[in-house]
């Protein structure tokens, strides 16, 4: 699909927030690009919501800046038509119907009332439009939040844990919805504490832990894995070859004859083996456990290799 909106970047520069005595966010510098879905990831309490709230002018940064298209949210001439945001710990009046909630926002933002029904339709809420929000399920509230963000048809979407409370069908629907928005050139920032939830949706990831940036990269780069797996009948010779090439020592990788080399690029391992004439039966990148990579990043520990035995496996002749 051709981009239909002018891309707007979200940036933070040295963003820091100290609450009373708690450092919620520390020196966060991030760039979120248009036309892509960016996952804003981190464990609960990592500072994701605080960062988003600073971005939206609801929380004042202690230091640094958070900008949308180079402008602070509060200075945007028409915030609702620029940024659509749905935040956690934001709710609706239980006695007001979903449609009336949207009417209030549309009226305050100076948007045509027709957008209300369009957005209800878009998020599959038309049937419950006149029902009081008090009777909505969590999934329906998420949809109403999403409908609210879409009212101004904004080029930037900021969604805090939008998959919470959605059933598998809802998550699949959300994925398609966000992919479609990014494909039209919009900037989509989605926070989550579970990588698996957004793994199939996001292009880029920004990972924070304890309020600090841990990693900002395209997901593909993260997926590239942390190690190369080699299957060889002569592990001692492989170890020598790797040592000669300045690569780390292999450790048993679980399956008989398979060895794990903590080197990201398989071509370097393959070349070392080839140059030393080591027989290799298999050579591949360890990619399957993205969640483990994520966990290792947010806890600072090295990723646990799958099924690592404590003793070295007996070398097959």
């Amino acid at each position: 699909m051709m981009p239909v909106v002018d891309g707007i970047e979200i940036t933070t520069e040295g963003l820091t927030k100290v609450f009373a005595r708690v450092r919620a966010v520390t020196d966060l510098t991030v760039r979120v690009r248009p036309g892509r879905v960016t996952g804003f990831l981190g464990p609960n309490g990592a500072g994701k919501t605080t960062t988003l709230r600073m971005l939206l002018g609801l929380v004042a940064p202690t230091q640094g800046r958070a900008l949308v298209g180079g402008v602070a949210y509060a200075d945007l001439p028409d915030p609702t038509r620029t940024v659509g945001a749905s935040l956690e710990a934001t709710s609706f009046h239980p006695g007001r119907s979903g449609r009336n909630h949207l009417r209030v926002v549309a009226l305050a933002a100076g948007l045509p009332e027709g957008r209300v029904d369009e957005c209800l339709e878009l998020t599959g809420l038309s049937g419950a439009a006149h029902q009081r929000v008090g009777g909505y399920s969590l999934g329906m509230r998420q949809r109403l939040g999403l409908a609210t963000t879409m009212l101004g048809d904004p080029p930037v979407l900021i969604l805090d844990e939008p998959a919470n409370g959605l059933d598998p069908q809802g998550i699949a629907w959300l994925r398609g919805f966000l992919r479609h928005l990014a494909a039209s050139g919009r900037t989509v920032l989605v926070s989550s504490h579970v990588l698996a939830e957004v793994e199939q949706t996001v292009d880029d990831v920004v990972i924070i832990a304890d309020g600090r940036l841990v990693r900002a990269a395209p997901l593909a780069e993260l997926r590239r894995g942390a190690a190369t797996i080699v299957r060889t009948p002569t592990p001692e010779r492989l170890a020598d070859a790797l040592a000669g090439a300045g690569l780390p020592r292999p450790t048993p990788a679980g399956t008989p004859g398979a060895w794990r080399v903590p080197e990201v690029l398989p071509e370097r391992v393959g070349h070392a083996a080839y140059a030393a004439g080591v027989e290799v039966h298999e050579l591949y990148t360890e990619t399957d456990d993205l969640e483990a990579v994520f966990l290792s990043l947010v806890t600072g520990a090295s990723p646990p290799a799958p099924l690592v035995p404590t003793d070295p496996a007996p070398v097959q002749p």
Binding site: V59, T80, T90, S91, H93, G95, L107
Partner: protein, 261 residues
């Protein structure tokens, strides 16, 4: 600004609390004005004066402005709920996302609360007119609705109630917790303040007492004299307005500047 006010009024209209409170105003007003009209002129015995006669202009004002104190009490509560409800139901984020300039939100809410005060006061005036006039008619007294002194007093209750709405809003911003704000509004501002005013009058400090919100609003209507030293009606209105502005300004500079988490 107009669309912000319209949005605030839509918020009020799309939940039920405003007409629940209005029902309270209607009920209390009807009781108040019937009771006042029914007892006018009674209690005089053996040369001892009783209540002023039903034809006394001050008595007529009392009957037809019986809705003032229910209206201002309930619109005080409504004004408080308009802002504290946003924090209680966590809708304040939506409001501030649409309108990041927080003072504009406060001004729109102040205006909405004042307008609701207007609505409550007009409804109360109509109820008092119907209930009071029919009671007087049943007792065989002239209805006295046409008197300019009555019309003037009723008009001023409308002004006073509108200011009370804004006062409630100011109180709500200052005390963000819904229950605390409502309790402070009713117990503190209305009950305790009446007691305080009484005490001040006893110790001959009525000069101070007349600047309290409730005393100032009694001054606006100036019905049957309470015997206390009262301000002229316009000064009462100004004093009440100053209280509202004080609360709203204090609230804007404290609560509303805070982070919304």
């Amino acid at each position: 600004m107009n669309r912000l006010l319209a949005a605030e009024l839509l918020k009020i209209r799309t939940t039920r609390v405003w007409w629940g409170l209005l029902l309270g105003v209607v009920g209390l007003t009807a009781i108040g004005s019937v009771a006042t009209a029914a007892t006018a002129g009674l209690g005089a015995a053996g040369g001892r004066p009783g209540l002023p006669a039903a034809t006394d202009p001050a008595m007529l004002r009392s009957i037809y402005t019986a809705g003032f104190s229910p209206a201002y009490t309930f619109v005080l509560v409504l004004g408080t709920l308009i802002i504290t409800g946003e924090y209680r139901h966590q809708t304040i984020s939506h409001t501030l996302l649409v309108t990041p300039r927080r003072t504009r939100v406060v001004v729109a809410k102040l205006a909405a609360a004042a307008l609701m005060g207007l609505v409550y006061a007009v409804v109360a005036a109509v109820v008092a007119a119907v209930a009071g006039a029919s009671t007087l008619a049943i007792r065989g007294y002239p209805v006295g609705l046409a008197s300019t002194s009555v019309a003037g007093a009723v008009g001023l209750t409308v002004l006073g109630t509108a200011i009370w709405g804004a006062l409630g809003l100011g109180l709500g911003i200052l005390i963000r917790n819904q229950i605390a704000a409502v309790v402070t509004g009713i117990v503190g501002l209305i009950l305790l303040e009446g007691l305080l005013a009484l005490l001040l009058n006893v110790v001959h400090a009525g000069v101070v007492a007349k600047f309290l919100p409730t005393q100032a609003s009694s001054a606006i209507v100036a019905g049957v004299s309470t015997g206390a030293d009262q301000l002229p009606w316009w000064a009462g209105a100004l004093v009440l307005l100053a209280w509202g502005a004080l609360f709203a300004a204090a609230g804007t500079f404290t609560t509303l500047r805070r982070d919304v988490t």
